[in-house]
Subunit: 471 residues, 2 copies
């Protein structure tokens, strides 16, 4: 009887999606005993944005958060999201840094490494997978799901088989944009389960309001573990509610075996916590199916709106949205996820604002066209590539093969500010804000960003004038 496992993302992706990654460790620890007792397959708790927000805004040491969560959650796997050779940063790191990072994360308590590459170039996952296995931890190979003429089920299945050959312990489908539909999920999951002998995990954002239906179809087709979020931080750009999926499967052959009432208690806790972070709520947290029409992820649209607003050019949004698929095509249809979403989005804005496509080309696009991010899913536009990189030759090796070891250099640069390897890695991930953090720590001046006081409790907010009918 297939028991379905749950990875709860409340400590990472849920608050990243809904309150700009601002949840503090102090709001996680009190509920950890209850969270730990639920029996989740894992708790996702670390990733690029949580690391960034800790150092940049919360003035928390992200490594310390990890250790404290490890201590508070002795019975549950801790899981992180790792951008392959980019780790938690925005560039390719040398292999020695990748190995050091994975080793230290494992030593501080990480159990499951969900490893992805924005281009689905598996060479960019290789060192991280090897290091995870060397540390005796769970390596989860990730397929970034997207829709394009260069992507199909057969290609994703090929990728799944290659990830298995690389030694992964499980496979994740990562639908960062909420592009999956229930029946597309059914087909993809079935094909993967038919071809790859590994447990399959599904991560799908609820942006379009489809993710719970996708989960359901995935489960019916053999998916082993689904990602959900405790309801207080579920829905919208986050994930389907844990409680709903547990309730949906209860008493069926797919029962999660989890105690719904215990999860509801955790939900009430986080419902209160969320109020503390009201200043980070976005105006719109409902369902947005536009990505199903234009394939542009919701997070990208917010970013573009900000960029355009700064240029007093919000009225060009429609043009930018129309330009994005063209730039994406020129670049060989990369999945749109960090950092490719930024690379494509920024170039699309430039193409529109300069009123001449590629009159100005960003350094990131130049690097991309040189092959410095890896291999694009489909051939890039040859003329654009010539224009961008001139006579320089594009590389076709694994980008990190060209990088010298750099750990020693980084150690030297940060010097005595680093009290251990973890600090060196913090500096490596975020050179400027990492250094500033370490300096402030040394000076004893770390100061978290202030929080606005909670809005006054309007006790009688709910209408009470007449009986609510059940209808």
């Amino acid at each position: 009887m297939p028991k379905i496992n749950i990875t709860d993302v409340i400590l990472r992706d849920a608050h990243q999606s809904l309150i700009a990654t601002r949840m503090r460790t102090e709001d996680m620890l009190p509920i950890c005993p209850k969270l730990d007792a639920i029996g989740f397959w894992s708790l996702e708790c670390w990733g690029g944005a949580t690391f960034d927000a800790c150092v940049r805004f919360l003035k928390e040491d992200p490594w310390e958060r990890l250790s404290r969560l490890r201590e508070a959650l002795p019975n549950t796997r801790l899981q992180m999201l790792l951008r392959g050779q980019n780790l938690l940063g925005y560039r390719h790191y040398s292999d020695d840094v990748v190995r050091a990072f994975v080793t230290r994360a494992a030593a501080n308590g990480m159990d499951v490494f969900r490893i992805f590459d924005a281009l689905n170039d598996l060479r960019n996952l290789k060192t991280a997978i090897e290091a995870t296995k060397a540390a005796g931890k769970h390596a989860q190979g990730t397929i970034c799901y997207t829709v394009s003429p260069a992507h199909d089920t057969a290609g994703f299945v090929r990728m799944g088989r290659e990830l298995a050959e690389m030694g992964c312990d499980s496979i994740a489908i990562k639908d960062m944009a909420g592009l999956l539909t229930p029946f597309a999920t059914a087909e993809l999951v079935k094909a993967l389960k038919d071809s790859v002998e590994l447990p399959l995990h599904l991560h799908s954002h609820a942006t379009s309001g489809l993710a719970d239906m996708c989960h359901l179809k995935a489960i019916e087709n053999g998916c082993d573990t689904i990602d959900t979020a405790i309801s207080a931080f579920a829905g919208g750009t986050s994930h389907p509610p844990t409680e709903s999926l547990v309730a949906a499967l209860r008493g069926t052959e797919y029962d999660t075996g989890l105690d719904l009432e215990a999860i509801q208690e955790v939900g009430i806790y986080f419902h209160q916590v969320r109020k503390k972070y009201h200043q980070f709520e976005s105006d719109f947290t409902g369902v947005d199916t536009r990505v199903q029409v234009n394939q542009v992820p919701g997070g990208m649209i917010s970013n573009l709106a900000n960029q355009l607003r700064e240029q007093n050019a919000l009225d060009r949004m429609e043009a930018v949205l129309a330009e994005i698929p063209k730039v994406r095509k020129d670049l060989g249809y990369p999945p749109l996820v960090t950092p490719t979403s930024q690379i494509v989005g920024t170039q699309a804005v430039l193409n529109v604002l300069t009123e001449k496509r590629y009159e100005s080309i960003t350094n990131e696009v130049k690097g991309y066209l040189q092959g410095r991010y890896g291999q694009a899913p489909a051939p890039v536009d040859a003329a654009l590539q010539r224009q961008a990189i001139g006579n320089a030759e594009a590389i076709d090796c694994r980008p990190a093969d060209l990088l010298e070891p750099e750990l020693a250099r980084l150690q030297g640069e940060i010097g005595a500010l680093a009290e251990g390897d973890e600090d060196v890695l913090t500096y490596a991930m975020f050179p400027e804000i990492g250094r500033a953090f370490l300096e402030q720590r040394a000076a004893g001046t770390l100061q978290p960003e202030p929080l606005e006081p909670p809005p006054s409790e309007t006790a009688a907010n709910a209408p009470t004038e007449f009986n609510v009918a059940v209808h």
Copy 2:
């Protein structure tokens, strides 16, 4: 190829569920041309609460709303929810009033009458179904879904067959509390489709976050039409988002054929409209799976909280929630829907606050135990019945069989305040507020309740400090 139809509930249940039924006609009419062009199977736009709110708070004539919607929506079926022999009120009306009401509703533009009875006593649907057919309109027989020892799939199927024999044009499953789970839905829908040769509609509230999954399983098992709400008023105690279901089914054998982009435009309109009614938003609009554990509908819990607050007894909530299933059992397991939800809930509060069960018995429970609401799904508690009604004999006929015709009397009572039969029926539904409305109309003093000004637009509400990653 089974094309799936959509009934959109934006004009009735969606705003009833989320903003206390307060949407005004002036906010419906501007979008009607676009709504009308979508191609919904029907638009639900009328029911007990909308009628009540029009007369009580908005000081709109509900009949005029109907006529204006009819005019503005020439190409789409208009649908209403009718409480069987209760019509839109809280008591049994005589057959002549039922016939007059259905006739006038049909004449003013109603096409589809979804007719239910809180006890699923089909005798209470009989006159309304006959009147609907006599008016040449669509009679939809409704099964109120609930979970109890007295309810099972076989019983619901029997009900479906009887509704077909009574001349219904279609069957609706009405899951007012969000009790359905996906696999329970699959079983029920399959059984009904196997036994009843009528189109099947599903109405399930998203309270527990399960309704879209229920819809999906219903569709896979032969359900023809699902109820959804334009996303701006979807989710929570409302319904799954129309856009999400349309996107989920696009390109599959269940394609709705509707234009997703056109629906998105309508969604943007209603997103703006919702802000106008911010004062009626409840504090909590997320997912609440508690009904899956305690079977008490969310709307009932809000009501109970209000009742207890007035008595300074909010701390007895847990006791009341524990008492409700007991009262429900004593009453033969009625589905909890208007008016049985109020009858059971109020008695449960009394049982707890008096600290002796049934020391005080409400008139409604007495009437219920006399059989004045119809036949309970299971035998009621005999001792309680004796205690409540003494030596009086319980009736076992159709309750309305004991009612004399009353239309002429009502006409006489309201006299010249009624400019037509519609006004008499308004008075019949709501004797006090209906009369007050007609008096104010005559005096030219109708004044809608005031709306609070919208909260200041916090343009920079969304976090803009750093790039939003797509994760």
